[in-house]
């Protein structure tokens, strides 16, 4: 079998931690296939980020060019596909981030490859597990094409640990054709908190939080636990928090050690994004709310009463732990 080529992302001059689970997947795939793991990174001024990627024990192919400063599926996909062919890769993968989900199918199109999306497991070189129907069905799929493309669910594989560093090899981009697409701008939300998809603790609020200012106490709870903030679709749609906090089928899939759902009823689309969490706590005033069906610990209470108590109890506990 051929090589395993994993597309890794970078942001702010660093390797994106979201790419680490894909490296773990790539290592497993490399063992299954018997071919070496190679990482590929595209962008402008990649020096530090490429060296960071090389810490994971694989050769890093860096395609560094001003024309690749902003990610575009149109310019990135042909380069990744070409490198896959040059390298003789039989598996091309990456994390199913918003970039991975946009890019990898287009790479599959150019490679005439079958693709497995949102992969949560691998049982043979071309056999993968993945969830469907908002996590209510698990299927095993077999890709029949010589080259396989796989987008892996970030929370399904642990982040890779560093190994003896690999080499960074510069690869020329070749002709860059944006196919009539152009990056215009990006508005990012800045936060000091851990990334939602990587946090050990996630504290989420729903429609029942009523308004934006009420999220302050959720933020206090999240910060106390060193966690990230999340939200249901209803809370985002109502403008209480930015849309990029949304957990669910639209939004992000999270699987922290502790997920605290506050004033969230638990629509199927939300459950699809957090059911994989290790311990789930639900606080809701409605005892019949569907969120209680997936919660390990349920507390029927209003957030107005429960949250100040919870913050104070956790502070007490933390004081004894010092």
């Amino acid at each position: 079998m051929g090589k395993v080529l994993i597309f890794v992302e970078h942001s702010g001059g660093h390797l994106r931690t979201a790419s680490l689970p894909a490296i773990t997947f790539g290592r497993a795939a490399s063992e299954h296939q018997g071919g070496p793991l190679v990482l590929v990174m595209l962008g402008k001024t990649l020096g530090a980020a490429a060296r960071e990627a090389a810490q994971f024990g694989a050769e890093v192919l860096a395609v560094d060019d001003p024309a690749l400063e902003h990610y575009l599926a149109e310019t990135y996909a042909p380069i990744v596909a070409r490198i896959a062919k040059e390298q003789g890769a039989t598996l091309v993968g990456g994390t199913a981030t918003s970039t991975g989900k946009d890019l990898l199918p287009r790479v599959a199109a150019l490679l005439d490859a079958g693709m497995a999306a949102d992969v949560t497991g691998m049982s043979a070189p071309k056999t993968f597990q993945r969830p469907m129907q908002a996590g209510n069905v698990l299927v095993q799929v077999e890709v029949t094409t010589p080259v396989v493309v796989a987008a892996v669910r970030q929370t399904a594989f642990p982040p890779a640990d560093p190994k003896a560093p690999g080499a960074v090899t510069q690869v020329a981009p070749g002709a860059v054709d944006a196919c009539g697409a152009r990056f215009v701008s990006v508005a990012t939300t800045q936060s000091e908190r851990p990334e939602l998809t990587e946090a050990k603790v996630v504290v989420s609020g729903g429609r029942g939080m009523k308004e934006s200012s009420n999220f302050k106490i959720l933020e206090e709870l999240a910060d106390l636990l060193g966690g990230a903030m999340g939200a249901s679709r209803a809370a985002c749609d109502a403008g209480m928090v930015p849309n990029d906090l949304q957990v669910g089928q639209t939004g992000k899939v999270v699987a922290p050690n502790l997920y605290i759902a506050v004033a969230i009823s638990g629509a199927i689309q939300h459950l699809a994004g957090m059911k994989g969490s290790k311990t789930i706590v639900a606080i809701n005033k409605d005892a019949e709310a569907p969120i209680f069906q997936v919660a390990d610990y349920g507390l029927v209470a209003t957030w107005e009463k429960a949250l100040p108590e919870l913050v104070s109890e956790i502070k007490k506990l933390k004081a004894t732990q010092r």
Partner: protein, 277 residues
């Protein structure tokens, strides 16, 4: 603008999934339009009308919307509903989900694009059942067209030859310009009151949130609108699966949880039992 928009039918996501042996049991399933596709139909209609011009008579159509579905004959019901919303005509391609994969669906759409020559292929970002999230990107790749996935807003460029698409990405919102023809896949917020600005409808026009309801007039008109039926073989699509489903199972059930009586008890359990505090 001419828009080809996809509409898949899916099992009602609100219904509990039943299993029969090692397969999904579809008996008694309530089939509904894939929500993301329904939103794409609404987006297509908003892009091809002047909602400020019609006065009491409603919007003035300016463009063509062709809705396509691959499925059994019964999917005509969902197509008819889209026609009642205002789409101009529909194409029904006879096909069974079990014998299709993302590549076959994308190749089928490419064939239709070659026949229909739309300016825009507009789709839901994913089907709520298979959740493959691939078909739009694959079709764009095959067609060598630009793509804008996960669209939350669409604004037509002044010359009408490009779209500025607001895409929900991990870190926030990205604006990407795609020249037409292009593939756009839509996310949930595309049906927000002011998500779409087409350069014809007044820019401050606010639609009601969500896909429009069919009016009685629309329902009557839809009965006369054509639904063209065709087959995958007629379009030259060979039945070969690149991605085969080899096993179907229910996810492991979560251990039943407990209700706690107080915050104090909750914190004690999280500390002593779950050991997460």
């Amino acid at each position: 603008m001419k828009i080809l928009v996809t509409l898949k039918r899916v099992p009602d996501p609100e219904q509990k999934v039943k299993f029969k042996g090692d397969a999904i049991d579809f008996t008694g399933v309530n089939w509904v339009p894939n929500q993301f596709d329904e939103y794409a139909v609404e987006a297509a209609l908003r892009l091809t009308e002047n909602a400020s011009a019609g006065g009491a008579g409603g919007a003035v159509r300016d463009g063509e919307v062709v809705v396509v579905s691959i499925g059994p004959k019964e999917v005509a019901q969902q197509l008819r509903a889209a026609l009642a919303m205002g789409a101009d005509r529909a194409i029904l391609i006879d096909g069974d989900d079990g014998a299709l994969d993302a590549e076959m669906v994308a190749r089928t759409l490419v064939k239709l694009v070659e026949q229909e020559k739309p300016d825009l292929l507009l789709m839901g970002k994913l089907a709520a059942d298979s959740e493959n999230n691939q078909v739009g990107q694959l079709a764009a790749g095959y067609l060598h067209w630009p793509q804008a996935t996960f669209a939350a807003t669409i604004q037509a460029a002044e010359d009408g030859k490009a779209l500025d698409v607001g895409r929900e990405v991990d870190s926030g919102v990205e604006i990407k310009r795609v020249t037409l023809p292009a593939v756009v896949t839509v996310d949930l917020r595309i049906i927000a009151p002011q998500a779409i600005k087409n350069g014809k409808t007044a820019p401050d026009h606010a639609y009601p949130e969500g896909p429009r309801y069919a009016s009685l007039k629309g329902i009557m008109a839809a009965k006369k609108k054509p639904i063209t039926e065709t087959a995958l073989a007629t379009l030259g699509i060979a039945p070969s699966l690149r991605v085969k489903t080899t096993a179907v199972t229910a996810p492991p059930a979560r251990k039943a949880g407990v209700k706690v009586a107080s915050v104090e008890e909750l914190v004690a359990k999280l500390h002593n039992e779950a050991k997460v505090l």
